[in-house]
């Protein structure tokens, strides 16, 4: 086999998600009354990047064969925090942004420490920490409110050169600054190895713990970037419980659509980004076809079921039934 075939095989999930997204987005824009304009793309991008950041966060943890049910709550907590801190002079705003990101990192690090060093199951540990993070967010913003540096917010949610949505540029920058180095670092590889076969990784002397810890911590950071962007779009902070839960669940859906295996060891955050954008487009599609918004959850659920079923076909090839349970 040629090199490019191996590359193709490795990127299959990502390319599939990319394909699904492009098809849905083309249907969407060609049926949109305004058509394929900078405005339509900007609106779609701004809605999409929020879930994209949270889905990237989820990807990092899922690669280690874990799951992070607190990402949506870190997203809310940092939104509430940003609505207090990201204000004032450029200097104060910068410090505020750094503080919000630091809190995200800390939340992720706490998750990682509990799961790895406390040896608790990720699902239980992150349900608990998620509740704590939400609780802090609620104390910060018992009622929706606050404000944000509007110059910064408008710049990051507007357009660059009048065409390209700024939020997409930031998303790309984050991919280049966080995801690419992580996936090519020793820690990133350790995270993949731990997710694929923790025993084999241990026997090979891989730094499993540090790899997993890095994954959880960076997941917190990415969720915080999502939280910042939520503040930039809404100009306020709000501890909306239902919204936090929805982001957590949608991030898992996006990850699966993006070809990331929930069994760990396989997939990429780029796939998850396209998964997130595709998932968001489902809702928009309903809008342009004049469906009642009440149909949206049902429709999203069906799409998700179909996507997940595609991944289960491998089970038909299992010849020793005991492998079903591995």
């Amino acid at each position: 086999m040629k090199d490019w075939r191996y590359w193709l095989a490795e990127q299959r999930g990502t390319l599939l998600a990319f394909g699904i997204f492009i098809v849905m987005f083309v249907i969407y824009t060609s049926n949109h009354p305004a058509g394929f304009t900078a405005n339509v793309v900007q609106t779609a991008a701004n809605k999409g990047v929020l879930l994209a950041f949270v889905a990237m966060a989820q990807t990092l943890v899922v690669i280690t064969a874990g799951i992070d049910l607190s990402v949506g709550m870190i997203f809310l907590l940092t939104n509430c925090l940003a609505s207090w801190l990201v204000v004032g002079t450029p200097m104060q705003t910068t410090l505020g942004v750094l503080a919000v990101l630091a809190v995200g990192l800390l939340c992720g690090a706490i998750n990682g420490a509990i799961v790895i060093y406390g040896r608790l199951q990720p699902i239980v540990a992150t349900i608990a920490t998620g509740a704590v993070y939400y609780g802090i967010g609620l104390l910060l913003r018992p009622f929706p409110g606050g404000s944000v540096n509007e110059d910064l917010a408008d710049a990051l949610t507007g357009r660059v050169f009048g065409v390209v949505p700024a939020s997409l540029v930031v998303l790309l920058a984050i991919v280049l600054v966080i995801w690419v180095p992580f996936s090519r670092s020793v820690l990133g590889r350790a995270a993949y190895a731990a997710g694929s076969s923790e025993t084999a990784a241990y026997m090979s002397g891989v730094p499993i713990r540090r790899g997993k810890f890095a994954a959880y911590t960076l997941a917190g950071l990415l969720a915080a970037i999502g939280g910042l962007f939520l503040t930039f779009f809404t100009y306020t902070g709000e501890a909306a419980y239902a919204s936090g839960n929805a982001y957590t669940l949608f991030s898992i859906a996006a990850v699966v659509l993006g070809g990331v295996s929930l069994f760990g060891g396989k997939g990429s955050a780029i796939g998850a980004i396209f998964g997130a954008l595709a998932f968001r487009t489902i809702g928009d599609l309903l809008f342009v076809f004049d469906f009642d918004p009440l149909w949206q959850p049902l429709f999203q659920g069906v799409i998700l079921l179909v996507a997940v079923s595609l991944g289960a076909f491998a089970l038909f090839r299992v010849r020793n039934r005991l492998e079903w349970f591995l």
Partner: protein, 515 residues
């Protein structure tokens, strides 16, 4: 010894797992530039010794020295760092990563803090070439490779770590003939480069071709060390067997007449590359053993009977009637009445956190319930019978089964199936890791069940057990029945020579005659 200064020494190494002694004051010396073969039966302590050397488990007592300096390893990584690299039987490759990723996994080349993929590719290609496996593409995912190619990747990975001591634990078991000759050339070159190699294999012809020095292990001790070629195969087999017969087996009754109709019959069973055209019969009242080296298809054969394998070809007959067993719950049903005592009681036999009572009644719940409601009185009667019959020692029926000793846990697994009064009992190495007293009870129970009319198929890695318990033994090699031993033919020598697939009956076992 040849007087050379040993590179690595192990002295007085002991290791216990629970109540079982795996190693007892074992010694080993390894010199540079030589290939040292380790021989011994299944369970003689070879694997434990290697795990201690490679930092996977810690010894309870004893010391290890490298270059005369004493050391201990906290992890496999520490052992690798000291230059000891082991290629394990069960592979240590990460399936979802590429071949190149796996080869450099312990210490990837870095550039600006990130993994340098070009350098990684180069290292992987070099290592694969050194291992004589340049045909493997470095970008291929490990999970997509067949077992023999994975084994070669494993060897390349070990070489990329630049070891001083390289341990190969049954590293050739999955290889093709062409690969084996490649690997032998590689190993001889490494020896000439001054590496110390430890070679564990059951294949006598390989040892004859490669080894400079041999050490034989038996019952957790090294019983003999000698320069390769200084002992005949016969003498080696004697050393491996030892003479420690104990009279713990119940007497065997007169053989069931060969004309009796078989209870369980297999005709030409084949499955993937693990089972190859197996035909056998087990009659009511008979204990039939499955022998051979570990991993020659015995486990798969039992799973095939029990309806776990898909895509099985061939026929299974119960009482002369062809049946289709599609799942364990079909296998245990009344028409068939089969029970399988699994190999790994902790994952396939018991629900560890649940109580003794619950574990005992799982397999028989359908018989103990009416309209879905469990008849507690009937359950209690049956459980009392079983606890009495097997003499299960437990502080109570309502404590978690995890709290019991290994031997008593195994009794629970067996009792669970006896509650259904099975007509066919399949046992997969049931005495592994349990104490001698319980073993003896199990042997007696097995004979009692056979006398009461059950047909028993019994896989064991312990040759003594096969000799002591079985009316007939089928020896498997590479997924096929190589030999059937009946009655007095079942001897340790016959078992070992047919397990190693050495030809010739009672004539002296000859070297290098392996197929």
């Amino acid at each position: 010894m040849d007087g050379a200064v040993p590179l690595f020494r192990m002295e007085g190494i002991s290791k216990r797992y629970g109540g079982v002694r795996a190693l007892e004051k074992a010694e080993l010396s390894v010199t540079s530039g030589s290939i040292h073969a380790i021989l011994g039966e299944n369970g003689a302590g070879k694997s434990t010794l290697i795990k201690i050397m490679a930092g996977v488990v810690a010894a309870d007592e004893g010391r290890m020295t490298l270059d005369g300096r004493e050391l201990t390893f906290a992890s496999p990584a520490a052992a690798n760092h000291a230059g000891i690299v082991c290629i394990f039987q069960e592979l240590s490759l990460v399936p979802e990563l590429s071949v190149a990723d796996n080869i450099v996994i312990s210490d990837p080349p870095k550039r600006f803090g990130m993994i340098d993929r070009k350098a990684q590719r180069r290292i992987a290609e070099e290592a694969l070439a050194r291992a004589g496996a340049a045909d493997i593409h470095p970008s291929a995912l490990v999970k997509d490779l067949p077992l023999s190619r994975r084994q070669m990747v494993e060897i390349a990975k070990a070489l990329a770590r630049k070891p001083r001591i390289l341990i190969l634990d049954e590293a050739t078991s999955a290889l093709t003939v062409a690969d084996v000759s490649n690997i032998f050339a590689v190993l001889k070159r490494l020896r000439s480069e001054g590496l110390a190699l430890l070679y564990i294999s059951h294949r006598m012809n390989e040892i004859a071709e490669l080894a400079d020095q041999c050490t034989v292990f038996r019952n957790g001790r090294n019983v003999a060390s000698y320069p390769a070629g200084s002992k005949s195969d016969n003498e080696v087999v004697e050393l491996m067997i030892g003479r420690e017969y104990s009279h713990i087996f119940p007497p065997k009754p007169a053989a069931v007449p060969a004309t009796a109709a078989p209870r369980l019959e297999a005709r030409k069973l084949s499955w993937t590359d693990r089972l190859d055209n197996i035909s056998l019969t087990v009659r009511a009242g008979e204990v039939v053993g499955l022998g051979g080296l570990d991993g020659q298809g015995q486990r798969e054969l039992l799973l095939a009977f029990f309806g776990v394998l898909r895509g099985l070809s061939g026929q299974i007959l119960i009482d002369g009637k062809s049946v289709s067993i599609t799942s364990p719950s079909v296998a245990r049903d009344d028409g068939i009445g089969m029970a399988l005592i699994p190999e790994d009681r902790k994952t396939e036999g018991l629900m560890l956190p649940m109580t003794v009572r619950e574990n005992l009644s799982f397999a028989a719940l359908d018989r103990l319930s009416k309209a879905g409601i469990i008849d507690r009185a009937a359950e209690q009667r049956l459980i009392d019978d079983m606890v009495g019959l097997l003499a299960i020692k437990t502080a109570g029926l309502d404590i978690p089964v995890a709290a019991l000793s290994g031997g008593n846990q195994q009794k629970v697994v067996i009792a669970k199936w006896l509650m259904r009064q099975p007509r066919i009992i399949l046992l997969n190495d049931p005495t592994r890791g349990i104490d001698v007293g319980t073993k003896q009870e199990l042997y007696q129970l097995m004979r009692k069940l056979a006398d009461a009319g059950a047909a028993i198929l019994f896989y064991s890695t312990d040759y003594d057990e096969l000799i002591g318990c079985c009316d007939r033994v089928l020896v498997l090699y590479d997924g096929a029945v190589k030999r059937e031993l009946v009655g007095a033919e079942i001897s340790e020598r016959a078992l070992i020579s047919s397990a190693l697939n050495i030809h010739g009956e009672d004539s002296p076992v000859s070297l290098g005659a392996d197929a």
